[in-house]
């Protein structure tokens, strides 16, 4: 059990690490197109800390990420990311807790539900708005996943550094 100050310090570091990747997204990746899509890091920013911190804490962190995304990104409905990113965090936390220990492999595996959940939610919203485009939306989802997957390596490294900085004994 971490002391309160250590917990605050840890989540501050996670937030700063997340901001670093948000800046990378805004300053660099937004100008890069791979397979017709821009690499989109926000689902990974929400999912990766959850693989280290577990489902409960990860879900809360992902919720904060969702609020941040909804404030800055255009979305088809209000609170789109606030609704879906906590699910992404929960899925990633459960994955690391029950199937694959947190690390590079777990991050790559957690990326799949992260992008699938986001993509499926987009599909549902489009369908609900009367613009069903399941095929095109799933194609974008898969291309987005592939274009962003490689970024899970440096992102995992940074989030892992934060985790080890506080959990020295692990």
């Amino acid at each position: 059990m971490l002391a309160r100050s250590a917990t605050i310090f840890k989540w501050t570091l996670y937030t700063l690490a997340g901001l670093v990747w948000a800046v990378v997204q805004a300053a660099f990746l937004q100008r890069v197109t791979i397979w017709g899509v821009i690499p989109f890091l926000y689902p990974l920013i929400a999912a990766l800390p959850a693989t280290f911190e577990g489902p409960a804490a990860g879900t809360v962190y992902a919720l904060a990420c969702g609020v941040f995304c909804d404030l800055l990104l255009p979305s088809p409905i209000p609170c789109f990311y606030t609704l879906i990113l906590p699910l992404v965090g929960l899925a990633a936390g459960l994955l690391s807790q029950s199937l694959i220990p947190a690390g590079y492999l777990c991050s790559a595996a957690a990326a799949l539900p992260a992008y699938l959940l986001t993509g499926i939610f987009h599909c549902i919203v489009l369908w609900a708005q009367g613009h069903p485009a399941w095929g095109a939306a799933m194609s974008v989802t898969l291309r987005e996943l592939c274009a962003s997957l490689l970024w899970s390596l440096p992102m995992t490294w940074l989030f892992r550094r934060v985790y080890l900085r506080v959990h020295v004994d692990d």
């Binding site: 899509v37 990104l73 979305s75």
Partner: protein, 280 residues
Amino acid sequence: MKDFLKNHGLWILFAGAVIAVALALLSYFSTNASPLVDLANTITSPFRAVCTSVSGWFTDKQNYYEDVTALKAENEALKKQIAEMEATVRQGEAASQENVFLRDLLDLRQQRRDLSDFETATVTERGVTNWTASLTLNKGTAHGVEIGDCVIDGNASLVGRISEVGYNWSTVLTVIDTDTSLGARVYRTKDIGIAGGDFALMGDGKLKLDSLPASCQLLEGDLVVTSGLGGYLPPDLVIGSVSELRADDSDTSNYAILTPAADLNGLTEVCIIKSFEIVS
């Protein structure tokens, strides 16, 4: 010494006079320098050459130093001049680009008296996610921009509508975004339909025109403009042109794929129409 001069003084004087006369005669009849001058210069010539070489070396070094210093200063001045000229060229290019845009806008003002209140804006960001087709502009409520305002380029081609607005920024949903739906009119046939974004077409930068009357006979290349019905948008803004005709899933009606007239990927300057006269 005194005795020597007493005994031989006259001879010495005589010999000196003879030598002087002889030298004078030699100098007079010779075409070269006088023997004494010749002798003196012959002896001093190597020393003079050495002195000249040494002073020449020093002069060379001095000149070299002065030249290098001057060249350095000149180089610095030229570099500065080039930088200034490059900045001027860049500024000129930007001004030229802006000038073209403003000229287009001026033409537009003269052609379209109904579009009364314009605000030019710069595109600061585009396409932040793969799920929306939006642009961020540098004008907001501080400049009188409101949600729903129409955004066009310099050629009166429709770019989109303002969907979100802040103090000094606004977001435009472009015509290809899935949330965009516009009253449209085929310019040639006057048929009315609805132009709107379709997610399957958004990646290709295109939009869909449907809800057309069954009798409508579209041709590829037909121009599609805003209908202006309902007063939400000014009429006759160019949306795009028909690039393809398709039958819908039920095969009972056709719809058209439109290529937007505005270059949505290359836009840097746009114009926000803040108000317009509704023409009945």
